[in-house]
């Protein structure tokens, strides 16, 4: 038989001023099964807690109901009190007679009655509670970081420096990401490579980090603490063990004119190449689609010239399976190309370039060695027009959001251009300037005030070529909407930042959610901006939304700290408020499967002694289940139940709703 104690808190005057706490205690004492009932000024205070502890001992209580504030406030406090006396903490429930009662109703009998009813409802729940034990899940203390841009690098280093193993995978031949392509960075104008490459080297040399470049996620199974990831290590046709990175092969390759991805196709590269001199790992890769050997089997220049004998034309993709406990997704973003814009010539004008292409023209390691020369004829442009919001904030083009980084990098581009071509002119067409970061606004003003960059508020309707000039037709909305026509030598489009084309398929592989733009979704926009809805998987950098470097790095460290916190325990403890299925009554209709937002409902085959399948039933993966209970209400045969909110508990609560209170009064 249940022996339940009821403890009514006055909360000073907060409850007692409108609720007759003594009377509530008295009414409660008449509920069958309640063996002790009292009221006290501050139940959460030390003496209050002691009062509960003593009563538990004295009356051999099996359950406790505390009538006080909201359980969102003090439920952990009182559960701890109960647990200290050896009772399972889930036998303690709180009845909210403050926020839901004394604070919202006037003093009077009805308010007291409501408090008493609330107590009774919770007494009925406690009566039907069952002991629950925190779920312990073992944790594999190894993290998988997907993406080797600055976010992935930062997350890997942070996690590794805390003493955990990290597997960092990068789909390109080298880590570094977009940051490696940048010339200088706003708002300090320090050289991007100078601050990035030491980090890249640190990753390569870190004893805890296994770097797998030229690799992608093939599939993922499991749940928090216990993922099993399969990684496709793409064949680079180089034996990485043997290769010493001398680079002779790249010089000997007869194919030389492949558009260079690292230079945003502003330069050329051979078919066997290292993306850029500081690449990590500094090992080449053969571009199979463009290699003469793979086309007709004839060419072997690289192989014959490799003194290390590292060229391996027969190399195959490898599938490698690793156990990891947590995953950081840091796959970054890409930008729209100039061909996305009908009104700016569908990419047919060579001197209309993207911001990233201009970045390469500015970079001292770029195709022009840092001189601004336009792609069509190599001349130094004397008039450059920058167009902000190219594709961003443009619902007609399907991109409603602000790409966030363009205002700043366009100011930087104009500034660097003016530094390199002091007699040149830079015009920027903009709609709004969004410079809300530390030292950002000052930076933009510097471009205007010190470097004479000309900002024109208006959008450009058309760019076309005439007599070797690019005619830019825009408008100055701050000048009575006067149409503006500028003859430019070069046009730079600050094109929209978008998710990678394969972001959606990666999200599906990882079972994380993504928004309509294919950016990955955080678990909560304010309070859980780093976690995904899938426990154990966190996000870092621009794969979640457009971000600049400081933000990406901050989020990466946040993701790392979430991961490190997870790894700090040997066993993962989870609230046992999860669903459980009854395998003997489940008929396996699996209509519940699609209601689970966490894909926690799995198919389990029940076999007889001979191994024949008798039936297939639903089984809840306790690692994935978050305890919403949607499947429970959904199951026709009541074969799923939610611990902590079992059918029996909630049914008892409802049964106790309006018990004729006269019986007790």
């Amino acid at each position: 038989m249940a022996r339940i104690g009821v403890f009514i808190c006055h909360c000073g005057e907060n409850i007692a001023s409108t609720v007759d706490c003594g009377k509530v205690a008295e009414i409660s004492s008449k509920i069958p099964g309640v063996v002790f009932s009292t009221d006290y000024k501050y139940m959460c205070s030390d003496p209050g807690q002691t009062l509960i502890k003593d009563a538990i001992k004295k009356y051999k209580l099996t359950g406790v109901v505390v009538g006080a504030c909201s359980p969102r406030m003090h439920e952990p406090t009182f559960r701890k009190v109960v647990a200290s006396e050896g009772i399972n903490p889930f036998f303690c429930e709180m009845a909210n007679i403050r926020e839901h009662c004394s604070w919202v109703h006037p003093k009077g009998e009805e308010t007291t009655q409501k408090a008493a009813d609330t107590i009774r409802i919770l007494v009925e729940k406690v009566r039907n509670n069952e002991p629950l034990y925190p779920i312990k899940v073992p944790v594999t203390k190894r993290a998988l970081v997907i993406g080797g841009g600055i976010a992935g690098i930062q997350a890997s280093l942070d996690i590794a420096n805390a003493g955990n193993e990290v597997i960092l995978i990068e789909k390109e031949p080298s880590i570094g990401g977009h940051m490696a392509q940048l010339s200088e960075t706003f708002p300090t104008l320090d050289c991007s490579q100078c601050i990035l490459t030491p980090r890249m080297v640190e990753v390569a040399q870190h004893p805890n980090i296994t770097l797998m470049s030229y690799s992608e996620v093939e599939s993922l199974e499991g749940f928090i603490g216990n993922f099993k990831a399969t990684i496709r290590k793409k064949a680079r046709f180089i034996n990485e063990e043997l290769c010493n990175g001398c680079g002779d092969c790249t010089l000997k390759c007869p194919i030389k004119k492949i558009p260079d991805e690292f230079n945003a196709e502003m330069g050329k590269r051979p078919a066997i190449y290292v993306p850029f001199p500081q690449a990590v790992p500094n090992k080449p890769v053969i571009d199979k689609d463009n290699c003469t050997h793979f086309k007709n089997g004839k060419c072997q220049f690289c192989k014959t010239n490799c003194s290390a004998g590292a060229i391996d034309f027969d190399q195959q993709d490898q599938l490698i399976t690793v156990d990891v406990g947590a995953i950081v997704v840091a796959t970054g973003f890409t930008i729209k190309g100039t061909d996305f814009f009908p009104e700016y010539g569908y990419g047919k004008y060579k001197d209309v370039v993207t911001g990233l292409q201009f970045e390469r023209l500015l970079s001292s390691s770029g195709p022009t060695l840092g001189e601004v020369r336009r792609p069509s004829d190599g001349k130094v442009p004397k008039k450059v027009v920058f167009i902000a919001c190219a594709g961003s904030r443009d619902p007609a083009k399907g991109i409603e959001y602000c790409s966030k980084i363009c205002c700043m990098y366009t100011a930087k581009h104009a500034m660097l251009y003016k530094h390199k071509v002091p007699d040149g002119e830079a015009d920027i067409f903009y709609m709004d300037i969004r410079a809300g970061g530390k030292n950002y606004e000052e930076f933009v003003r510097r471009a205007v005030e010190e470097d004479d960059v000309n900002y024109i508020r208006g959008r450009v309707s058309k760019v076309y070529e005439k007599n070797g000039k690019l005619i830019v037709r825009g408008v100055d909305t701050l000048l009575n909407s006067t149409p503006v026509e500028i003859e430019a030598d070069m046009v730079v489009l600050a094109t929209a930042s978008v998710a990678h084309s394969d972001a959606e398929s990666l999200a599906q592989k990882l079972h994380i959610s993504y928004d309509s733009y294919n950016f990955f979704s955080e678990a909560h926009p304010k309070l859980r901006p780093v976690e995904t809805n899938t426990a154990g998987i966190t996000l870092a950098g621009a794969c979640q939304a457009p971000k600049d470097i400081p933000e990406s790095v901050a989020q990466a460290s946040a993701a790392a700290s979430k991961t490190i916190a997870l790894f700090s325990q040997d066993l993962l403890t989870r609230e046992p408020i999860i669903a459980v299925s009854n395998k003997s009554t489940c008929v396996g209709c699996f209509l519940c499967q699609s209601v689970c937002p966490y894909l926690a409902i799995e198919r389990e085959e029940i076999k007889d002694r001979n191994g024949n399948i008798i039936k297939t039933v639903a089984s809840i993966n306790s690692g994935l289940c978050q305890g919403c209970g949607t499947c429970v209400a959904f199951c026709r045969s009541k074969s799923i139940d939610l611990q902590g909110y079992t059918n029996n508990q909630v049914f008892s609560e409802v049964s106790a709703l309006f018990e004729r209170s006269e019986e007790y009064v």
Binding site: P597, G629, L657, F658
Partner: protein, 152 residues
């Protein structure tokens, strides 16, 4: 007999509406005492059988409230609940149970005032509808029809 005071039960989710009701409390927004709150993790957890049970227990009106679309703590429980209630409401209408006695609402953790209004509105609406006499009269409907049938 004094004016009829309806008995209202509120089935609310823990993350939005329960917290919204807490906020009404911390903001000291006064509302009618008629409501008794039962806490669930999510509107998706609320079984339609519990609504029937509440009527059986003597409720005159029921509030079912959870997170606004897109706000669900569990991503989609409220969307499933929304479909469930759409269908359930149609069934009650067809059977002749006054579906106005069940009030569905989205109340977020920030909407303390909305919660208070919701309770007050529901109480006054149900007061106008009068006691849920259909269910109460059920106890008086004897099974005599069965008797008639057997005698036929």
């Amino acid at each position: 007999m004094s004016e009829f005071e309806p008995k209202i039960v509120a089935f609310v989710c823990n993350w939005c509406t329960y917290a919204g009701a807490d906020l009404a409390g911390t903001s000291r927004i006064k509302y009618a005492q008629n409501v008794r709150i039962v806490r669930f993790p999510c509107t998706g957890r609320i079984d339609f059988m519990l609504l029937l049970k509440a009527f059986e227990e003597g409720a005159d009106g029921i509030i079912v409230s959870g997170c606004h679309p897109a706000d669900c703590h569990y991503t989609s429980g409220n969307y499933h609940a929304r479909r469930r209630w759409m269908v359930f409401k149609d069934l009650l209408d067809f059977i002749g149970i006054d579906s106005r006695r069940i009030v569905f609402s989205w109340v977020s953790a920030a909407e303390g005032a909305k919660w208070a209004h919701l309770v007050n509105d529901t109480v006054s609406e149900i007061r106008n509808l009068g006691p849920m006499k259909e269910y109460k009269n059920l106890e008086n409907v004897s099974s005599n029809k069965i008797g008639e049938l057997i005698n036929d």
